[in-house]
């Protein structure tokens, strides 16, 4: 019996890559438009753990830093101009902590001051003190409601 051989035609198989450039550029444009390089760093502070013990409050046992409208300070009742804060705040605290390293710093801010004024002082307080290994152990940022409560507990009229 005769065998017929059919000559196979080779079909070239190719992936069509003509539109790859379009898709790639479309993806790039999408990511460029929707991606954001957001700020991902900042100052942190931990709030005290909730316990039922009422702390004993002694007004003279803390360093009182009061930020006024405009950015000036009252440091333990003494006025300090905004321009002096960078040079004088930390040395004062360092000197005070030498006598009593456990003294907490209480950072109060006038409601009419700006957030920027408060952050400026808080940033300086968070800057490590270079000399003698002295460190601010506690920085407390009481809210207006907490301050009112403390004044009430101390029996001080505002």
């Amino acid at each position: 019996m005769g065998v017929f051989k059919i000559k196979k035609r080779e079909i070239e198989s190719e992936i069509f890559t003509g539109s790859m450039a379009d898709i790639s550029f479309l993806l790039i444009i999408y990511f460029m438009v929707t991606s954001v390089f957001s700020a991902t760093r900042g100052l942190d502070f931990a709030l005290p753990e909730d316990n039922n013990e009422t702390p004993e409050i002694k007004q003279e046992d803390s360093i009182d830093v009061y930020v006024q409208p405009g950015g000036d300070l009252q440091l333990d009742g003494e006025p300090m101009a905004q321009e002096q804060i960078a040079d004088k705040l930390l040395p004062y605290i360092e000197e005070t902590l030498r006598e009593n390293p456990k003294k907490p710093v209480i950072l109060r801010t006038d409601p009419d001051a700006t957030y920027g004024n408060m952050i400026y002082v808080f940033d300086i307080l968070r800057t490590p003190i270079e000399d003698g290994g002295i460190k601010i152990e506690t920085i407390s940022i009481p809210t207006q409601r907490e301050i009112s409560n403390i004044w009430t507990m101390l029996g001080v009229a505002q």
Partner: protein, 146 residues
């Protein structure tokens, strides 16, 4: 004077595009890796600080817009787009709900540096009442020239 005109030979000007695909894919990979969906797009002038710490990616966000835009407070769980709130009670409700789901959840305060502290104080108070443990105050890097 006779001018001899030679037949100009056209030289084909081509831009080398063989590496274009590599560059394009490199850019795509870069954007895929660095892609970050921002849950809060409030435009604020952040205060500048020397001390800055890394903020966890999925922290809840409370933003306060500038005084020019009405010091609007917006809240986000860190996974969904932020929504405006109008009262301090709403901030407390939001923070309490988030803390109930995850007691260790960090919160970010993203406020314009010109915002009255009274507004920030109210937010801080709401977070304290909601038993939030760690708060981050978002800032830009302070530089020597200010």
């Amino acid at each position: 004077m006779a001018v001899i005109r030679g037949r100009e030979k056209k030289s084909g000007g081509e831009i080398f595009t063989a590496s274009m695909a590599d560059i394009v894919f490199l850019l795509i990979v870069f954007f895929v890796l660095t892609y970050n969906t921002e849950v809060d797009r409030t435009q604020v002038d952040l205060p500048e600080t020397w001390v800055r710490k890394n903020i966890p990616k999925k922290a809840a966000v409370i933003s306060i817009s500038s005084p020019e835009t009405g010091e609007i407070i917006r809240v986000s769980t860190g996974e969904e787009m932020s929504l405006p709130v109008s009262t301090n009670e709403e901030v407390i409700t939001f923070a309490s709900t988030v803390v109930a789901q995850d007691p260790a959840k960090e919160f970010i305060i993203k406020a314009d540096e010109g915002v009255h502290y009274e507004k920030v104080d109210a937010v801080l108070d709401a977070l304290k009442q909601s038993k939030v443990k760690i708060i981050f105050l978002l800032s830009e890097q302070r530089t020597v020239d200010g």
